[in-house]
Symmetry: C2
Subunit: 436 residues, 2 copies
């Protein structure tokens, strides 16, 4: 084919192929053709496939005018993506107003979660808060209690960070064995966004925290008055009072108009619809830090104030929702994260942890953010036991389930960050299995 | 106030304040209270304001249950944000199917533009493309022409990058003087997203580009068959074949299901709804690189193939849409970007460029991405001429309008990246003015 070909006939040429080459045959040569970045020539079948496919045939959408600008002043996804949505597990909770939805991480690319797909967690439903009427009070052991309007908060210098947000119950249904045959349900209580707000330390400097002030009670404006006790060290370290998410104001389900955000800590501590910060000298032991967000240890004691989300990872491709269709070249891809800092290294195993291969970390590797890992792989069609193992910059190594159970027992709900196993069957389908 | 106060009465206490302290008086003490991060105590008026505002008064949304999870399986913004939308200028084009909409950058935070607010540019409207039927052909001076389905493209190893995307006409209405009294219209033809796809160099290795192949014609599947000639060097450098944006599949208006993406280059070269890449030995001189995207120079010749978006910046706060209400402490904030790499430095002037102060670069500073800059400022109420000046890592300094006109004259439409001036009036309002 020469480059002097006119666009019209080239276009027709393509269209002919697009509509007439049987998918299977195209797949066959293409599969053979894929030599990731090796530059090896594709097979003869390719040229044949092209030269056999005249006459012209142009797709309908190339023959008509499309929709104009601002047809959707605030845009929405393509109708062909209608299955990429948040989902909940009906049997998991008694009511949707005190429940959780999961992000479709099996469909997500890169590290940013679009706002429409960020997982939800409510204790009394998502309130509709009028930002004009909303106030944030900081009081207690301070020299000068202050009340902030949204305009007040947004006048302070802002900071933006890309961090993951995870519910500590992520994966918690599987402490006692596989329950879920979908990545969205085994690991979907996590998202990663760019968060913008004012440093909590800046506001605390305004009110003047007294020397006795060591803890902060954060309380939400929702019907549950959701509240958690936060140590002063975290508040002065990297905690933010956040009003924006991925460039725009918070979504209602994410705490609009303002929330606390504690990077790397369990999501419930990042109290949404934030209305009050009280400075005290000890934790409050409120409802959500006694009845919930605690774990029963083997010795009968309760593990509490377990704030940090320890290093975790999961293979997102393949997964139950995205099986492999046929033998050939694929990218084994996944996500890793740590509440303690950057992901330093990720290993992938195809034999259930007997041997490990180093994965490549792709794109941005940010502290307390989702990190993509990759391992190009040529599948022979043999069954595999696929696992990933994350190591963070503190040297923490993601544990096996047994290692975790040795310390935490089997009565926990939260903080299950053990190595996950996907069983790839010879038909390409994926099963959720748990190795001892 | 002691920390032994019960949550109920504290909550009531806050509510009382929230609804009863007159906004003006709160603003007064708060304004005095704001000493960015200095930790200086707020004024006595603060405590007074609080202790005067019993009895209790709890906002309605704290007394009811909110909506449950997956009430919106794909979430949408708060109803209170309905004015944060893309907008177009009716007189700018004859028809909305060959027009542009602008992003509300005056409202955006951080560096990520949410997908619903990314500016739009069409040459024949946005087509609705069925991803199952869509094909990408790579042909011309190659050893093995190939046709890719979306499944084929998504099997290759993916890469994700955060880059800005800008129309070269951004600001183009103002070559001959201020036209627009809104930041959304002076600089809104820009967005910044995380883009995910396969490296074009990977696909070119698959087809085997012949030694004579120096240029690529990229053609879209829209009604305009929008096409541009791309030099092979760019294709082999950092060009991507992109199918995802901020974690999810491209929006229809952004080229769903697949587009070319040329980091740092004028937006029209990142051809949307991409259906064909033809390898040739010279540029094609198609419609959109002759009638459009060229500039008439003073010597009567046309400046063409002006791909790179040179360093640019603008102050986003204050701006015509976000005036300053009163004297006191503010953050002068803005955005800077360069198609040639990272932003190295940004200066801010309050006197129309007579003197300059270095701004702080906030958050991530990424190559070919929007970069936030900040200068805390105490406004006395005097009129100001606010400007920003970006310098990128190549040493390129954003020019004044005169410097730009000396080279390009006044007949250009595209690539107006000169220093922009906001006139802050003593009433806090902002006027778009142009200094010689």
């Amino acid at each position: 084919m020469s480059n002097s070909k006119k666009p019209e006939s080239s276009k027709a040429y393509l269209a002919g192929l697009a509509n007439q080459v049987p998918s299977s045959s195209r797949r066959d040569f293409l599969k053979k053709g894929i030599k990731f970045s090796t530059g090896l020539a594709a097979t003869a079948a390719t040229s044949a496939a092209i030269s056999d496919n005249l006459p012209p045939n142009i797709p309908s959408w190339s023959k008509t005018l499309g929709s104009g600008v601002v047809s959707t002043p605030y845009g929405i996804p393509s109708k062909f993506e209608k299955n990429v949505i948040r989902r909940t597990v009906p049997w998991l909770t008694a009511d949707k107003i005190s429940s959780i939805s999961m992000s479709p991480i099996q469909e997500l690319k890169g590290i940013i979660t679009p706002n429409g797909l960020v997982f939800e967690r409510y204790h009394a439903g998502a309130p509709i808060v009028n930002p004009e009427e909303h106030r944030l009070m900081i009081h207690g052991l301070v020299d000068n209690p202050l009340i902030f309007t949204m305009d007040d908060l947004m006048r302070f210098p802002s900071e933006s960070v890309i961090n993951f947000l995870e519910c500590p119950a992520n994966g918690g249904m599987e402490w006692r064995g596989p329950q879920m045959e979908a990545l969205q349900f085994t690991h979907g209580m996590i998202s990663c966004c760019e968060w913008t707000g004012v440093r909590l330390s800046t506001l605390l400097a305004e009110v003047g925290v007294q020397t006795k002030g060591k803890w902060i009670l954060a309380e939400g404006a929702d019907g549950a008055a959701m509240s958690r006790s936060i140590p002063m060290d975290k508040a002065l370290d990297d905690a933010l009072i956040v009003y924006a998410q991925n460039g725009e104001m918070l979504r209602p389900e994410q705490g609009y108009p303002v929330r606390l955000f504690n990077p790397g800590w369990e999501g419930n501590t990042s109290v949404k619809w934030l209305r009050r910060l009280e400075i005290g000298d000890k934790p409050w032991h409120h409802r959500e830090e006694t009845s919930k967000y605690t774990d029963l240890m083997p010795d009968g004691r309760s593990r509490r104030f377990s704030y940090e989300q320890e290093a975790n990872s999961v293979i997102t491709s393949p997964c139950p929702e995205n099986p492999w269709g046929q033998k050939g070249a694929y990218e084994i891809e996944g996500l890793a994260w740590s509440g303690r800092g950057k992901i330093k290294h990720v290993d992938v195993s195809i034999d259930g942890g007997v041997t490990w291969r180093p994965a490549r970390l792709k794109g941005l590797v940010l502290s307390k953010a989702l990190t993509r890992f990759s391992l190009p792989f040529k599948w022979s069609g043999a069954p595999l036991l696929l696992q990933s193992r994350a190591i963070d910059e503190t040297g923490y190594v993601q544990p096996t389930l047994n290692q975790l159970r040795d310390i935490r027992g089997t009565n926990s709900i939260y903080h299950k960050n053990s190595i996950h196993t996907w069983q790839l069957q010879s038909n390409g389908k994926i099963k959720n299995v748990q190795l001892k």
